[in-house]
């Protein structure tokens, strides 16, 4: 983006695709994880962020939840849950980090991996995402923050989580564009937000507050 380009808000709609692959134990989980598409890794580490929850979950990562609940491998579950999604800029790196934890756990075992109960298998899914324009366009940073309150959580999810990791962009779209508009400090401050520790509504509130703090809205 250059200095004259406006910011176009996009949103995403997701269809869940089933792979037909399932795992009953850690070796099977690792074997399949080596081969499934990046869309599957992304789905199982991100889809819960868009879901409605009665209580804010402690763990959003499907691998961690399954390892804990179906295999009772609590230590590995904690390590998987602690994988810092912000530390990676590609799904390949994220996949390797998850696999490394699972394979380390398997190697440190002097017993066979536990098997889940029938009907408790891990079923690999993946996201098929459709990226759509919302029709909302910001001409400058002030306009951007004026329009931000009307943006949906799906749009926020796309620009903040999906675009960065799945489309291989170096940072979230908002920071990238604001930097191109000369708002370097604000861009940096937004880049420091951890979207994985916040609900999407909380993230939006924090963004609006930062805009206000830096005198843009």
């Amino acid at each position: 983006m250059n200095q004259v380009q406006p910011f176009r808000f996009f949103t995403e709609r997701r269809l869940v695709e089933l792979t037909g692959l399932s795992a009953r134990n850690l070796p099977e989980l690792a074997t399949i994880l080596h081969t499934v598409s990046g869309s599957s890794v992304f789905y199982h580490t991100h889809h819960e962020f868009l879901a409605h929850h009665f209580e804010k979950p402690v763990v959003y990562n499907d691998f961690a939840v399954w390892v804990r609940e179906a295999l009772q491998e609590d230590a590995l579950a904690e390590r998987l849950a602690a994988v810092d999604l912000l530390a990676f800029t590609t799904i390949r790196q994220l996949r390797e980090a998850i696999l490394s934890l699972i394979e380390s756990c398997m190697q440190s075992r002097n017993r066979d991996s536990r098997e889940c109960l029938p009907d408790d298998e891990f079923h690999f899914c993946k996201s098929k995402s459709f990226i759509l324009p919302t029709g909302i366009v910001a001409q400058d940073p002030s306009d951007f923050f004026a329009k931000l309150p009307g943006i949906t959580t799906s749009s926020l999810y796309f620009h903040f989580l999906e675009a960065r990791l799945r489309l291989g962009r170096p940072t979230n779209d908002f920071s990238h564009w604001l930097a191109s508009q000369g708002q370097l400090q604000l861009s940096h401050a937004i880049d420091q937000l951890d979207p994985y520790r916040l609900t999407l509504d909380e993230l939006k509130d924090d963004l609006i507050q930062l805009g206000s703090k830096y005198g843009v809205c």
């Binding site: 709609r13 695709e17 089933l18 990046g38 869309s39 899914c125 098929k128 995402s129 990226i131 324009p133």
Partner: protein, 409 residues
């Protein structure tokens, strides 16, 4: 008066309706031909009754056709249905021949008009024989639990299944090794249908009185077709355990579906089991009894769906929508709908169902809390507006095979 998209805005919000209109812009004027095996009775017919007009309002040229078949054919497809859901069935050569011959007859009579042909469940599966080279896409929308199908039946249907361009299942565990994309779409209910819209207390009371149910005493209810897989006899067993601790009544109510000839046999067994207890009300409801079903659920204290196999279990969705605490068998889609301890209780046996029923009968606050959670859960995830969105996304997905990220302009 038919419902319009606008009518849903008060329930799901403007943003959801606007989003449907935006998505529709990408699939307008496509012809979507739905084909199933019964015009009335069962979840598929109910969904199509509401889905087709809404899609048409959005500009998708949706239509709905029903295959023909005699009682012998539906006996065979019921056996297939059971076998695909894991129950052992003896499938004879004659049965396979009956399926083949009826499929052949429908191949002669069915006019395929859709750009996308949406085949619901196994009964019309063989229509894919009409598939030709070209742009027309064939989708198998499988509503039942095929996580552990009987291999004989699966293998006999495989020559049809493998010809589809895509399949849709209700749960991740129903996925199979298939040579085409498989999508997951949860079913849904229509909050404005006669089965689900709000009722006046007097309407509820009238229906209870009509069926000699005492509104002053607790009522346990299971609404479902009379089907072994819904375990109505297990519900009676659970009720008998509850009765040792609590005065209550049991309502087992359901209709028949024209593609389910086994229902009469199960109904007889249920009636036999209930004959000595005037507090067990076994109700065979006529088609188009939706308001009565609505009232029976709203008048209930606790709703059960103690299935031992379940595709999704829309009766659970309907009860949750009415803010009822629900006890459900931990199978199929019931596990997605009942978050154990939050929107209801999951059980594995009549004893478990009885224990949870006693707990709920003793704790009105718990019932209320679970009921509210259940309502919110359905509102977020299982209403027809979300279903319409998913079907339009599948139509789009068919136009972008092999792409995990599709950019639309």
């Amino acid at each position: 008066m038919p419902t319009r998209l606008q009518d849903y805005e008060a329930i799901v919000g403007k943003q959801v309706i606007d989003e449907l209109r935006v998505l529709a812009g990408y699939v307008q004027h496509r012809r979507l031909q739905n084909i199933n095996s019964t015009p009335v009775g069962g979840g598929v017919a109910e969904i199509l009754t509401r889905m087709v007009p809404l899609l048409r309002e959005l500009g998708v040229e949706a239509t709905w056709d029903v295959i023909k078949g005699d009682r012998a054919f539906f006996n065979v497809t019921k056996a297939f249905h059971n076998a695909l859901q894991g129950r052992h069935e003896e499938i004879s050569k004659d049965m396979l021949e009956r399926f083949r011959a009826t499929t052949e007859m429908n191949l002669q009579e069915m006019n395929i008009t859709g750009d996308v042909v949406w085949i619901h469940d196994p009964q019309p599966l063989g229509l894919v024989t009409l598939k030709e080279n070209g742009d027309r896409r064939w989708v198998w929308r499988c509503h039942i639990d095929v996580s552990a199908p009987d291999r004989q039946v699966w293998d006999s249907l495989w020559p049809f299944i493998c010809r589809y361009d895509a399949s849709i299942f209700s749960m991740p565990e129903f996925a199979q090794h298939l040579p085409m994309p498989q999508f997951m779409v949860n079913p849904s209910i229509d909050p404005l249908s006669e089965k689900n819209h709000d009722l006046e207390p007097a309407q509820v009371a009238d229906v209870l009185v009509k069926y000699s149910i005492d509104p002053e005493r607790p009522i346990l209810t299971q609404i479902s077709r009379f089907d072994y897989l819904k375990d109505p006899l297990g519900v009676i067993a659970a009720y008998r355990v509850v009765r040792r601790r609590h005065d209550c009544q049991l309502v087992l109510a359901g209709g028949g579906a024209s593609d389910d000839p086994e229902g009469a046999e199960v109904l007889r067994k249920v009636q036999d089991a209930a004959v000595d207890d005037p507090d067990i009300h076994v109700l065979l409801l006529r088609p188009y009894s939706d308001i009565e079903i609505n009232a029976l659920v709203r008048g209930s204290t606790v709703v059960m769906q103690k299935s031992v196999k379940e595709g999704f279990g829309l009766t659970v969705t309907e009860a949750l929508w009415k803010r009822k605490a629900v006890i459900g068998g931990a199978v199929g889609g019931i596990k997605t709908q009942i978050i154990d301890g939050v929107t209801g209780f999951l059980v594995h046996s009549p004893e478990g169902a009885a224990s949870r029923a006693v707990q709920l009968l003793e704790d009105p606050d718990l019932r209320e809390r679970m009921g509210e959670n259940g309502y919110q859960h359905v509102k977020q995830n299982f209403l027809i507006t979300r279903h319409v969105k998913d079907y339009m996304l599948v139509m789009l997905a068919l136009e972008h095979p092999g792409e995990d990220i599709v950019s639309l302009n």
